[in-house]
């Protein structure tokens, strides 16, 4: 019987967000199925439902005709489904060999059969045509090598259904070609492959059918890819709602002194010759693929990693920022981190304490005692101003939805009266409506004179918000574009900058 995976009317909600709404998808053995959509469209959620990480709220999953949701990734693996996740699931302290055979290490009398393990791992790597020392610890590998180990790990299970979530995001074009050969061979042997990618050229090269998700809904459902032009696919992904939205060009005065100016900055992390200027009231976008070094640049400039050479000027003065504490209290620069849960918030603190954390020194009475009255009024002010949905400002930050958490994370910097705000991937995992209100907020803040550096991997977001777009690739700036806010021309310009250089 032919391999088939069928998803029917699958829905999934998270607190405050409808991640998937009656999604349908059918993938068959011997064909490669593209799953496309913008960031936050629901692709990863769908994959996690297939592999039993999440439980769907409703709908049906049929694997080779058998109707059943998997309760855990182990069950899914046992049913012949292998997945290469976007975020790698390798054990850093284990060797390449151990990682590849992690799920089903070959055993003899209950003891791991090392010779067989080596054979399996070597075979998987040879299939991929990659040469990595099998005994090397995974933590010592490059990101691209880890990605390959992850793929080898999926191959070794002899899965009939393989889900690849952005497998090419961090590997070189040479490695991509080899990967595609492997995918073609898998396809010929009757495996069903799901391929997630943001690179449409690749999709057209390797895929047969396509499903497009937008805001949790399947816009195109398992259609033959050859029937659609690239532009039609982009329209399906982006949707008319973005095209219709009025985006205004803002006027930024660039004849004045920049509030922040980098000249020939090099960092220990590998940034080279970074020069850029941020003007008062400007929204300066920084676009690039994941791993291009944008967040790392922001963190280096703010003193977390430090800069090794080059000049940093704030309002025309050469300065040295030694720590984030320095950046905040001396220079009034704030940094809204991309990992709000891990780095942005104190989840078990109430909203009130999360907002006041940057201004404790300003709301003190005698003897270092915090004025709860002031704390309350400041936090209430920002809860109201940003429309953060809370019962009261004593609600724990961990109980808020993603968008509201992000607003709390921004509030603490606004409360500290920052002049420059670096906002890193603000709307990842945030639903459409909150996203829109967040975009309005950014423009509003810039209009009030706040200078903003916006780091985002969401192209549509970047084009509708930024006044100027810097493009970064491999820790270098490869483009500096005035934003006309016209999606077609801008996206083409940005992609050219990323792919030519």
């Amino acid at each position: 019987m032919n391999t088939e995976l069928r998803i029917e009317k699958v829905s999934k909600s998270f607190p405050g967000v409808k991640a998937l709404n009656e999604v349908n998808l059918t993938m068959k053995g011997g064909s490669v199925h593209a799953l496309l959509g913008e960031n936050g469209a629901g692709k990863s959620t769908l994959i996690k439902i297939i592999t039993g990480v999440y439980r769907a709220d409703s709908g049906v999953l049929k694997t080779n005709g058998e109707e059943k949701f998997f309760n855990s990734p182990v069950e899914a693996t046992d049913a012949g489904i292998a997945v290469v996740h976007q975020e790698r699931n390798l054990i850093p302290e284990f060797s390449v060999e151990e990682n590849i055979t992690l799920h089903h290490p070959p055993t003899k009398f209950g003891i791991v059969d090392r010779a067989e393990r080596t054979r399996l791992a070597r075979q998987a790597l040879e299939t991929l045509g990659f040469d990595i020392d099998l005994n090397e610890r995974v933590k010592n590998l490059s990101v691209a090598q880890m990605q390959l180990v992850e793929i080898a790990k999926a191959l070794v299970t002899n899965a009939q259904i393989i889900l690849l979530d952005e497998p090419t995001a961090s590997i070189t074009s040479g490695e991509t070609i080899k990967l595609f050969d492997v995918i073609k061979r898998l396809k010929e042997s009757g495996t069903a492959v799901l391929f997630v990618s943001h690179k449409l050229e690749e999709v057209y090269e390797i895929c047969d059918t396509v499903t497009v998700l937008r805001d949790g809904e399947s816009i195109l459902e398992s259609k033959p890819l050859s029937e659609y032009k690239q532009g039609e696919i982009v329209d399906a992904m982006v949707g008319r709602h973005l095209a219709d939205r009025k985006v205004e060009l803002r006027k930024v005065n660039r004849s004045v002194e920049p509030v922040m100016q980098l000249t020939d900055i090099h960092t220990a992390l590998g940034h080279e010759k970074i020069s850029m200027s941020l003007y008062p009231g400007e929204v300066l976008g920084m676009y690039g693929l994941v791993g291009a070094g944008r967040s790392e640049l922001a963190r280096s400039v703010l003193g977390l990693h430090g800069i090794s050479s080059g000049e940093l000027k704030l309002n025309g003065q050469v300065v040295e920022i030694k720590s984030l504490r320095d950046a905040l209290h001396k220079h009034r620069i704030g940094y809204v981190t991309e990992n709000r849960k891990e780095e942005g918030l104190f989840l078990d603190f109430p909203v009130r304490k999360n907002i006041s954390v940057t201004i404790l020194s300003k709301i003190l009475k005698k003897l270092g005692v915090i004025s709860f009255q002031e704390e309350d009024s400041v936090s209430t002010k920002y809860v109201d101003r940003l429309g953060i949905k809370v019962v009261d400002n004593n609600q724990l930050a961990g109980t808020l939805s993603g968008g509201n958490q992000q607003k709390v994370s921004v509030s603490k910097w606004l409360a500290a009266d920052t002049k420059i705000l670096i906002i890193d991937e603000p709307t990842v995992g945030v639903d459409v409506r909150t996203k829109a209100s967040f975009h309005e907020l950014i423009v509003e803040l810039a209009n009030e004179g706040l200078s903003i550096i916006l780091i985002s991997s969401d192209l549509a977001e970047m084009i509708s918000l930024a006044d100027r777009i810097l493009v970064m690739r491999d820790y270098q700036l490869v483009g500096d574009l005035d934003n006309s806010k016209d999606y077609t021309t801008m996206s083409r310009g940005i992609m050219t900058a990323i792919h030519s250089a």
């Binding site: 209290h329 981190t337 942005g344 918030l345 304490k353 404790l360």
Partner: protein, 342 residues
Amino acid sequence: MSPLTRIRRIVGDQRVVLTLLTVGLFLYFGMKNSAFFSTDFVIYPLLRDGAVLTVIGLAQLCALSIGHLNLAVGRMAAVAALAAGASYQYWHLALIPGLLIGLVTGALLGAITGWMIVKSQVNAFIVTLAMDFALLGFVTFIYVTFTGATAAFTTKPAGMEYWRNTSLHQYCIAGHCGPRVFPMMLVPAIIALILVGFMYAKTRMGRELLATGSNLRAAKLSGIPVDRRVIMAHTLSGLLAALAGVMLAFTNGSFTASIGSQFMLPSFLGPVLGGTLLVGGAVQVLGTFIGTMLTLVIRQGLSVQGIGLETLNIALGLVLLTALSLGQIQKMFTSIRMRGRT
């Protein structure tokens, strides 16, 4: 607030449950054996021990507040007591100056520990464990070298007897005297409770310590000097351990190497039963006192029943496990309620 929510909030408070449990057990043991109600032989010593163990619990609480452990609380107490004892023995210092020397010693030990944790980036568990061993050797060496076979500093500063043996009973206002069961030793413990409680509830320092414990990276990115806060937490831990060490020496009547050797388990029992999180970010200062008293009532109650030491330890271990799982269950209910709300 409706009366119902108010009642629910009171019943839901772990401290209230703990207090009821402590009082209930106390009455139970008393009814089974009336000797348990003896002021002089049971309740007074119980409270006096409670005072010392509450302070050592607070020492641990300071480390827990930033998500660390201090496995060297007992030995820091021992070194501090050693310093105080030596200052009485050799320099004939008065009670308070000697106490201060002990406290400074403890604070310094804590600061050094904190500094090593920050600089080496090694887990606090390992650093304090190593510290514990090093100090154990040091303390034994000093006592043996200086006092030979006695292995103790026995000089008692003036006023020591007063602190170990008297109660509030001697203070009378207009014919009403304080209770005989209230040991003077509780006074420093109460002062420590108030100061530590005040710091965590109201001050910037307390808030920043808790923020560091709640999410180190977020604290750092919010401009909190997390390294200095880690050192501060361990300094406070050392300071309070020192206070507990000197208090125990006063209670025992001599300064010996064995001071603090029994501190480790109680230092965790009090805070953890009281609702302080092991992972950092939340503390229950008053809960530490109640938790400590609960363990003492159980220990004392069972031993009055004539139960052996081994059984006693089994019982205490079970109490700790039960209390921890109760906390987990309570958390589960809270999260279900939260989910219902959104």
